[in-house]
């Protein structure tokens, strides 16, 4: 996997010359190994282990789920929690794309925010239409829905 415009920096911030990619897999460059095993026993991004990032994104996602489950007020809070869940999921994509240095994960994060924008637009449109019908957007107003 070769990236466009790449620059190799070891953990001290020094630039180092890497071999062309075909030889790089065979050699498994020593600098990159020392980058990842510098102080910890596991994978790090900027010397912070990956599990903190995973905890961060998963807790955002989980708080979104909690907000959906324990929501008793209005649909706007539910949609905010959906936005929070999408944001946590895209953060997880971004962290793993940095962690494996595969840029395709960030492209999927870009798609996720496209979906989030479309989601909020259509959802708020439905909300406005329901408000014109019922003059109320609480959950009790939607109790008359058939089905």
């Amino acid at each position: 996997m070769h990236f466009f415009g790449q620059k190799n920096i070891n953990h001290l911030g020094e630039y180092f010359e890497s071999e062309p990619f075909d030889e790089f897999i065979l050699d498994n460059g020593i600098e990159s190994i020392s980058f990842y095993y510098s102080n910890y026993d596991c994978l790090v991004i900027d010397e912070i282990p990956i599990k903190f990032y995973l905890f961060f994104s998963f807790s955002l996602f989980f708080l979104g789920i909690l907000g959906i489950v324990f929501n008793r007020r209005s649909i706007i809070n539910l949609m905010l929690c959906v936005e929070l869940m999408l944001f946590g999921a895209s953060l997880n994509f971004i962290f793993f794309s940095i962690f494996l240095s595969l840029p395709s994960g960030q492209i999927f994060a870009l798609i996720i925010i496209t979906i989030a924008a479309a989601d909020s637009a259509v959802g708020l449109g439905i909300l406005i239409a329901a408000f014109y019908l019922k003059r109320n957007i609480s959950f009790e107003a939607f109790a008359s829905l058939k089905g």
Partner: protein, 165 residues
């Protein structure tokens, strides 16, 4: 990170929806700072523009237009059975985080080394433009179609003449 998690917890605890929108903004901005620290520059600015500039303003506009009264019932009703459902759910969260932390797979290290980990991108926008217009062009077109369909759908829903009387 902690500011983001705390304000995301405030999102589901606050009563007023405007306050919860602002706590969502604080959560997103602080996690954008985390993204900037690990040098994800392009996506962090895209997140800033889309979430803070578009989605949050859309929510604020809808709330101000609909003029919703703040409901008095709190999030947590201590007498309901749903409140007691929260304890096993939080326990499940802790157990699953324990699984995430302990399920450290050393094979991922090998994958990371083979994929030339340790590279710091010089310019994110070059990578994105080179990938998005060549390998992922179908996804790019698909996302544009999604945006177009959502725009037309929102317009049709809100400008229905039968609704507005």
């Amino acid at each position: 990170m902690f500011i983001a998690v705390i304000s995301a917890a405030l999102l589901i605890l606050l009563k007023n929806p405007i306050h919860s929108i602002f706590s969502l903004l604080i959560s997103i901005i602080s996690s954008i700072c985390v993204l900037l620290l690990i040098k994800v520059e392009f996506l962090s600015y895209v997140f800033l523009i889309v979430y803070v500039g578009a989605i949050a303003i859309l929510f604020l506009f809808v709330i101000m237009m609909l003029n919703i009264k703040v409901s008095n019932d709190t999030l947590i009703d201590y007498s309901s059975w749903e409140f007691y459902l929260m304890f096993p759910v939080i326990l499940k969260f802790i157990v699953s985080m324990k699984i995430v932390v302990e399920s450290y797979n050393p094979d991922l290290d090998v994958i990371g080394q083979q994929l030339e980990v340790g590279i710091v991108y010089e310019n994110d926008i070059d990578i994105f433009s080179n990938l998005l217009y060549t390998y992922y062009f179908f996804v790019f077109i698909l996302s544009s179609i999604v945006l177009l369909v959502s725009m037309i759908g929102a317009l049709i829903i809100t400008t229905n003449k039968n609704l507005i009387k």
